[in-house]
């Protein structure tokens, strides 16, 4: 009765407290950041306004490529921002969802109604969720719109590019005498702008200019001097060296291009930076200065590179084996080409800023392209090599024709009025050519390092061989790895560079890389490079972890735990195989290969595999049993069938046994499991050696027995327990046979002990005058046939005599048979 009451009270308490606790929790949760939705709405409003502005700007700047790129970057930023503003709702959404889960579904028609407070809360949460969803939807729409705009910019830019290449200008208009006056006007304007700036700078900012220039100079000097100090040896070509190695020539070319270019670049960039910093620049001067700086840097780099590769002064250090005269000419022509292209670019900036007429632009580009075309043809027609008979030989055919064709194409395009195309081609020739030449030099150096002994000759290789334990083979392999790595790096650096030069966007390249990495879908199979690479990497890591664990377990734990060698070996092997199997499994799943698909195939194939790999599987299982059962261990002396020898290695399929003749016998494990295996050294190395000896009849056998026992006991390797034993074995045909049986602690010493004991027996028997009989060899006399008889009567008489003897023998035999005696079988041995 009392219990029933208690239960009722408890039940009531529960019913009352349940909604209460719900309410308390709901109150805690209801205090959501009320401003969140409003905040994000405002941010999205801002973003939408910005997008509207940018869209208008796209319309305005539809002809300006640089401006379009800039707008594109801003749009990408907007897209990210809208995503971020949507992301801000995630914690709140998670809270709401969790709470809705707690509240559960609204009660169905038949069920009792829930408290009002629960219904109200559910509704409040649902409406908040709807509100948030609406804001996120706004963000989503904005993001879609921005993406559309970005696509539009891409289309516009490619359209612009096409126009640039295909637009034809009427040259007769552009190249009229008016151009001269236009150009003169423009030059005057430019001169005025620069001179007024110079006057301004000298009058008001002289100290700042001085300070800025000085600082930039100091920075460049530090870079140059520091570089010389650091890389002095590889930096300069030494004229005294008769025949520098290809690698040192390459490194000289590389460093003597890189360091001065860096120094000049640093000087130029820091000049511009400090001028900006001190507010020396005014108006368009900054733009002019930037363009000028770029031109100087490019021309300098090209000049250094050609000088380094062709070395007109030092034929020994030349990378490309051209003659000295042509080398000089090539350097001049290349530099001239870079200067023309650079000046043309600089002037285009000036034209842009001065708002000069189109005719000037066309005329300038026309001249520049014609000059570049002529230079290309000249380079192609140059005869840089000397044959052995002293005649000059041209470039390889493909190079010659490419160069001449490019030159002719540029000139023809310019003459026909396709100025944009001509400028594009000539710019590409210079820039892409420079990139390609640099990449080619890189490839050559990779090849030189990868060659045998190449890496050991480098300064790093010398340092490594002096300071580490790397031997020649390891250095060679390292060189190979470095060579491959350099090749890979060149492809990774220069391929995107060239693609970028040819108008591809970084986003395109990134998208390709991503596609290649995440998976090319062929039918229903997706091949993913990263997946496979990840799998391989995971497997390698797993493999090395296993190896490390194995070594640690074997070397540190089990060695110190004084674990038996056999057990150690077994555990090590088992851990190794298990680790590799796990690593392979993990690797396969990391590669994204679905093992369940494989299971089907495996099921179908298992029957075939079962038959085909019967032997292998049986050996494998036997190997596992060997590891577990351990009938022998490494180092044991075993006898398996015809094979006797020491166990060298127990693998999972076969066991390697080395015979005493040092022949390695690989025995399949199933042989060792299915057949009897004798092990001389299973539990211990104790073993018995038997030595037989015979003494002549008539010797004092008691004395012999005592002597033999004495000999056996006196040998140091013979065990006292079990005691040596001398067996009086047999009354032999020619001798009384004795057998000495001795036990040895290590049966492997058997031969030594046998030798010692036999020598001792001989010595002692001879001193004691005991004879060891040797069975005399039987003397076999060959019977000669008698001569053919001549006397017939005598033969007849002998024949009759023989007949008579035989008849008598037969009678005698019959008599014996009747008496019932039988010949007995001999006893078994």
């Amino acid at each position: 009765m009392f219990f029933r009451l208690l239960r009722l009270v408890l039940l009531l308490a529960l019913v009352v407290s349940a909604p209460l606790s719900f309410g308390a929790a709901a109150q805690g949760l209801a205090q959501a950041p009320a401003g969140l939705v409003a905040d994000q709405q405002k941010i999205l409003q801002d973003l939408t306004t910005k997008t509207d502005n940018l869209e208008k700007k796209i319309q305005q700047d539809s002809e300006d490529d640089a401006s379009l790129v800039d707008i594109r970057l801003q749009l990408e930023e907007l897209s990210r921002n809208s995503l971020n503003s949507a992301l801000a709702f995630r914690p709140r959404l998670a809270e709401i969802n969790a709470r809705l889960d707690q509240l559960g579904a609204p009660p169905a028609a038949g069920q009792p109604p829930e408290p009002d407070i629960v219904t109200a809360e559910r509704q409040a949460l649902a409406s908040e969720k709807a509100e948030i969803n609406a804001v996120i939807a706004t963000a989503q729409n904005l993001s879609i719109r921005v993406s559309g705009l970005i696509d539009r910019i891409g289309n516009m830019r490619s359209e612009l590019f096409r126009n640039l290449l295909t637009k034809r200008y009427v040259l007769s208009d552009a190249l009229s005498p008016e151009v001269v006056s236009d150009a003169h006007e423009e030059f005057t304007g430019f001169y005025k702008a620069v001179s007024s700036w110079l006057i301004f700078a000298f009058k008001f900012k002289f100290q700042a200019v001085l300070a800025a220039t000085l600082m930039a100079l100091v920075l460049a000097a530090v870079l140059l001097v520091g570089g010389r100090r650091l890389f002095g040896r590889v930096f300069e070509a030494d004229p005294g060296v008769e025949d520098p190695s290809y690698l040192s020539r390459l490194s000289v070319a590389f460093w003597s291009t890189l360091l001065p270019t860096l120094a000049v670049g640093a000087f130029l960039v820091s000049t511009v930076f400090f001028f900006n910093y001190y507010n020396v620049l005014r108006g368009d001067i900054g733009v002019f200065l930037n363009a000028l700086v770029a031109v100087i840097a490019v021309v300098f780099c090209v000049n250094r590179l050609t000088n380094a590769a062709l070395e007109p002064q030092l034929p020994n250090w030349r990378l490309i084996p051209v003659e000295t005269g042509p080398a000089r000419w090539l350097v001049r022509l290349t530099t001239a080409m870079a200067v023309v292209i650079g000046v043309n670019n600089f002037l285009s900036v000036v034209n842009d800023k001065m708002g000069s007429p189109l005719s000037v632009t066309i005329a300038r580009s026309f001249v520049a392209t014609i000059v570049v075309g002529v230079i290309l043809i000249l380079m192609g027609l140059l005869k840089p090599f000397k044959a052995s008979d002293g005649t000059w030989r041209p470039w390889p055919t493909w190079l010659r024709y490419t160069s001449v064709a490019l030159g002719l194409f540029t000139i023809a395009a310019a003459l026909l009025g396709y100025i944009g195309l001509a400028i594009f081609v000539s710019l590409q020739v210079v820039v892409t050519g420079t990139i390609l030449v640099t990449a080619y030099i890189g490839f050559l150096s990779a090849r030189a390092i990868g060659e045998e002994g190449g890496f050991a000759d480098t300064s790093i290789g010398r340092w490594l061989s002096a300071n580490s334990s790397y031997d020649e083979t390891a250095l060679d392999q390292l060189g190979l790895v470095v060579g491959v790595a350099i090749n890979l790096m060149i492809v990774l650096v220069f391929l995107p560079l060239i693609l970028l030069m040819w108008g591809f966007q970084p986003g395109d390249i990134q998208a390709w890389g991503y596609k290649l990495a995440t998976g090319l879908t062929i039918g229903s199979v997706t091949i993913s490079v990263t997946g496979i690479l990840t799998g391989v990497v995971v497997f390698i890591i797993g493999y090395f972890l296993t190896r490390w664990f194995q070594g640690w377990l074997d070397g540190s734990v089990m060695a110190r735990g004084k674990v038996d060698t056999g057990v150690r070996n077994s555990i090590r092997l088992a851990v190794g195989y298990a680790g590799v199997a796990v690593a392979a499994l993990v690797g396969v799943s990391a590669a994204g290969i679905d093992l369940s698909n494989l299971a089907l195939v495996a099921g179908a194939l298992s029957l075939g595999i079962g038959f085909g790999l019967q032997n292998v599987v049986s050996n494998f299982v036997s190997g596992l049993i060997l590891l577990a059962e351990r009938p022998f261990k490494v180092g044991d002396w075993i006898v398996a069938g015809d094979t006797t020898g020491t166990v060298k290695k127990i693998s999972v399929r076969a066991t390697e046994i080395e015979t005493f003749q040092r022949q390695s016998v690989i025995l399949p494990n199933s042989n060792l499991i299915n057949n009897a295996v004798g092990n001389w050294t299973h539990r211990n190395k104790l073993g018995r050696v038997d030595i037989k000896v015979g003494v002549a009849y008539g010797s004092d056998v008691k004395r012999v027995h005592a002597l033999l026992l004495e000999i056996a006991r006196s040998h140091p390797l013979v065990l006292k327990n079990p005691e040596p034993f001398v067996l009086f074995a047999n009354f032999g045909a020619a001798a009384l046979d004795f057998e000495i049986r001795v036990f040895l602690a290590d049966v492997l010493n058997g031969n030594v002990v046998q030798n010692d004991i036999r020598f001792a027996i001989l010595d002692i028997f001879s001193s004691e005058h005991i004879e060891i009989p040797s069975t005399p060899r039987a003397v076999v006399e060959t019977k000669k046939h008698e001569a053919w008889p001549i006397d017939d009567d005598k033969i007849e008489a002998e024949f009759a005599e023989r007949e008579l003897a035989e008849a008598e023998a037969a009678v005698e035999k019959k008599r014996l048979a009747k008496s019932g005696r039988k010949a007995r079988k001999p006893d078994p041995d």
């Binding site: 990210r80 995503l83 949507a86 992301l87 709702f89 995630r90 959404l93 998670a94 969802n97 969720k129 969803n133 996120i136 939807a137 963000a139 989503q140 993001s143 879609i144 993406s147 559309g148 970005i150 696509d151 580490s468 334990s469 790397y470 031997d471 083979t473 390891a474 250095l475 392999q477 390292l478 790895v481 991503y514 990495a517 995440t518 990263t530 690479l533 990840t534 990497v537 995971v538 390698i540 890591i541 090395f544």
Partner: protein
Amino acid sequence: MPCEMQQRRCETPILQMWKSLVAAITFLAVGGSAFAASAVNKDTETRTLIVTEGGGKTELALAAGETVEFCPNGCFVTLPNGDLEALTGSETVEISGGVGRIK
């Protein structure tokens, strides 16, 4: 043979080379991972996600138990229960019982 006399010395260069190779690969693997969001369908029936990526919406149907990688650079996704969520491209969307959860 010097190798037999100094077993340890002969092994080390190859071992060290392997070590550095492994280190490099590990570094690459760590750097290269985590480049896309993934969605897991733990239900027994096919579920559909609507992914807004770039300029368009695509429907991503997930068979029962399937895992899909999508959305490398951020996107919006409509979950099967109608919730709209933004993803940065590193999350895992788990669908169970017709409800998507972001982890």
